[in-house]
């Protein structure tokens, strides 16, 4: 009986490795597919950042609007008084906090931003296949960009253009979608890998188990993609 079990396990190890190697390309294709999606999305976001922040006048308008926004919030005493939903409220609150920070800064922001964006794009081309790393780095770089703006700009005027603020909201929302997609993809990767190893425990049923893991993992990636698209749609609304 023990010999039979040993033989069954030996066969399973062979089948497991065979199926794993033949399916790894399929899984890699999924990862790369999302990689390219993320890269495109990151590139678009960087374009938006350039559009918004590279134009000196727009930046001035954004920062000009800061003071009035802050004053409005102060007049309302509590930020909860705004007649907007909680999601928007949080973004608004964050933005106001960020704008307050901008008020205390210096003006040499533009060169820093451009150099950071350029380095980010170069890194994307260099390590494009490692999607999660690139995307995380991009998000991190966006935060660096925003921090740089806060650190390096002074505001001393009154409000004018709400569209600029809306654009800054869009960037924040986009980060949320991307963060969520990355989390979902990581979860799918982790579950898929863990699933393969768990399949080894199922003895004679290992091949069937591996096939099921492939199906569920692929489905997981599809769900993540759909969630991401829905998030983007909501953001656009």
């Amino acid at each position: 009986m023990t010999n039979k079990i040993q033989k069954a396990f030996s066969l399973n190890i062979f089948l497991f490795l065979f199926i794993l190697s033949s399916c790894s390309k399929k899984m890699e294709a999924y990862s790369l597919d999302y990689s390219s999606d993320n890269s495109i999305n990151s590139a678009e976001n960087i374009k938006k950042i350039i559009e918004i922040f590279n134009a000196d006048n727009l930046i001035k308008e954004l920062f000009i609007s800061a003071e009035k926004t802050i004053n409005e919030c102060k007049n309302l005493n509590s930020i909860k008084s705004f007649s907007i939903d909680i999601k928007e409220l949080t973004t608004m609150k964050d933005t106001v906090e960020l704008l307050k920070y901008i008020q205390k800064s210096n003006k040499n922001y533009l060169n820093d931003i451009i150099s950071i964006i350029k380095s980010d794009l170069a890194l994307q081309n260099e390590v494009r296949k490692k999607y999660s790393f690139v995307s995380k780095l991009t998000i991190e770089n966006k935060r660096i960009i925003i921090n740089k703006i806060y650190e390096n700009y002074i505001v001393n005027k009154s409000i004018a253009n709400n569209d600029i603020i809306k654009k800054s909201f869009m960037l924040t929302e986009s980060d949320k979608c991307q963060d969520y997609l990355l989390k979902q993809n990581d979860r799918c990767d982790r579950n898929g890998t863990f699933g393969y190893f768990m399949c080894f425990l199922s003895g004679p049923a290992a091949p069937a188990c591996v096939l099921t893991v492939i199906v569920t993992t692929a489905w997981c990636f599809e769900d993540a993609k759909e969630d991401y698209q829905e998030c983007q749609k909501k953001k656009n609304i």
């Binding site: 023990t2 699933g195 425990l201 069937a208 099921t212 569920t216």
Partner: protein, 49 residues
């Protein structure tokens, strides 16, 4: 086919679907339950030896 093999077959095919459970506490409970099933299957295999 022996009972233990049927159990392992059931375990192997249904286990990956546990990863699709979104609720963490339910997922933990399900994995615990499946671990017990697995232990029982191996118990049946080695008991007969």
């Amino acid at each position: 086919m022996k009972k233990s093999n049927w159990i392992l077959l059931f375990w192997g095919i249904t286990m990956p679907w546990l990863f699709r459970i979104q609720n963490d506490s339910i997922q933990k409970f399900a994995f615990l339950f499946y671990t017990i099933i697995l232990i029982y299957a191996y118990y049946l295999i080695y008991k007969k030896k």
